[in-house]
Amino acid sequence: MNKLKQVKNIIITKPQKLDCGKEISNFPISYETYGTLNEKKDNAILVFHALTGDQFASGKNPITNKDGWWSYALGSGKAIDTEKFFVICANVIGGCMGSYGPSTIDEETGKPIGTNFPVITINDMVNAQYNLLEHFKIDKLFAVIGGSMGGMQVLQFVSNFPDKAHIAIPIACTSSHSAQNIAFNELGRQAILADTNWKNGLYEQNKTSPDKGLAVARMAAHITYLSKKGLQEKFGRKLQERDDLKFSFDADFQIESYLRYQGSVFVDRFDANSYLYITRAMDYFDLSKQFNGNLSAAFSNTTSKFFVISFTSDWLYPTAENREIVIALNAIGADVGFVEIESDKGHDSFLLDVPDFLDTLGNYLKTNYKTVNEKRI
């Protein structure tokens, strides 16, 4: 956790009213930037991360020493080209990479806030990150982009701030968390709560850690990020370093071993309470409900140009749910493009090397940056 002191952050001094009714102030938002903000300040892109992401979207994550979560899409010469664009990515509030969250130390007690942290929403996350525009004195972003929970933040951002982004690209997301989405999140939360080391969220004080619960949560979630076909092709019924079944509950199959590994590395980089809070925020997300059941009304004042992207094998946020966003935007005559990208990599497609996706995204940004600039001249 000491390393976290070195991450960049701003302290938000002005009070922010949360959806739960509480007010927070003097809280940190940690962030990272890529590329250079030009003089006109017209080349800024705000990237929103997904459930278990953080501000380290590209390059080496200094805390985990792993590649940033969007290294395929973001960087020099990549789709989101940092030679051209200035990219800001912030850790969401509720997260555990330096932003205000349940692992933040309460100055009064000297201990982590834990479950005394207020329940937050996607709206709260977006409102907190908006402060970064003021910090960098950016009047209007060129684009807001995000996949999965990042896409939900894109939708909320353009709804809250209709004239603050030229381009909005929600990827593999939904405007309203479905019963199935909530069910999977609840499964993850219950795995954490069932771990006796969770200690009502006060595990650090008790010098324990609900690693097993958090690992199971990650394993269950990880299955939802992949497609059946992808899993079958990669693992099938292949055995893990053995010639035959062992008639035990060891990891006989490669898929078991893979999931166990995914669970075990996850607990080293993620906080269990953050997992509870962020999944809750996703479950509470229902943009149309915020506008009395009329999703179009969420975008009624928008000046942004939209590009909605989904993936054929994504069954977590399937094409039909992404299309709902397109339909709502078309109903009010907004400028919206849409494509479903062919991929068997499931929901995770947006994080992976999917050339059709990366090429289209890159070309779209490049062409539209030129057009937006021409209009200004």
Partner: protein, 198 residues
């Protein structure tokens, strides 16, 4: 650019709102965007073509005219274009009524099955016609509902659709087309271009 697209673009008013249904690689959209109006959208069924269009900065939605036109409100466009695809739909009648609901006017172009070479093909050879404009065999053609210029005239009058303007293309030459010269035009032209209104 195809002669057909030039004729279509001449029918479109400056700065009007346009939807190109089945926009392909966006050739017509790009031309209209550069010369007529920035308020142009496309609908296209092929993923690759949608990706090409989006890469060029054109606003295109992946979708099928038979199902996906319903998301657009009534009269949300000044012109809706349907170029040489009416014959490929399962339910062309429904598509036409959707075009006229979504658009104040529609521009529909039709490969003419009454063209003399087509007629001759069937008459002399006794096989389903294969021509430059209709290159497929009967077993692999996407064209389910071929019609002639006269058929489309009859259809419009039966459904009380107003034909605002009609033109015929004969070897890339634009000819006027009306009820008076229909018999002859229906024989000599490869393509009909209709500006219609409910």
């Amino acid at each position: 650019m195809k002669k057909e697209f030039k004729v279509i673009s001449e029918l479109i008013l400056q700065n009007s709102k346009v939807l190109d249904v089945g926009c392909g690689d966006g050739e017509l959209m790009k031309f209209l965007k550069d010369n007529k109006t920035s308020k142009i959208r496309g609908l296209e069924i092929s993923k690759n073509r949608v990706q090409n269009c989006l890469s060029k900065g054109l606003t295109v939605i992946e979708g099928n005219a038979e199902n996906d036109l319903q998301q657009f409100p009534n009269n949300s466009f000044d012109f809706v274009i349907l170029s040489q695809t009416l014959q490929a739909f399962l339910d062309p009648e429904k598509v036409i009524s959707e075009l006229l609901r979504v658009g104040k006017k529609a521009i529909v172009t039709i490969p003419n099955f009454g063209y003399w070479k087509v007629r001759l093909n069937l008459l002399i050879k006794g096989t389903m016609p294969v021509t430059e404009n209709l290159p497929n065999e009967w077993y692999n053609t996407p064209n389910l509902h071929m019609c002639t210029l006269r058929d489309f005239f009859n259809f419009c009058s039966k459904r009380e659709i107003k034909i605002f303007k009609s033109l015929a293309l004969k070897n890339d030459k634009t000819l006027n087309l009306s009820a008076k010269n229909l018999a002859w035009r229906n024989l000599e032209s490869q393509l009909g271009i209709f500006l219609i209104e409910k």
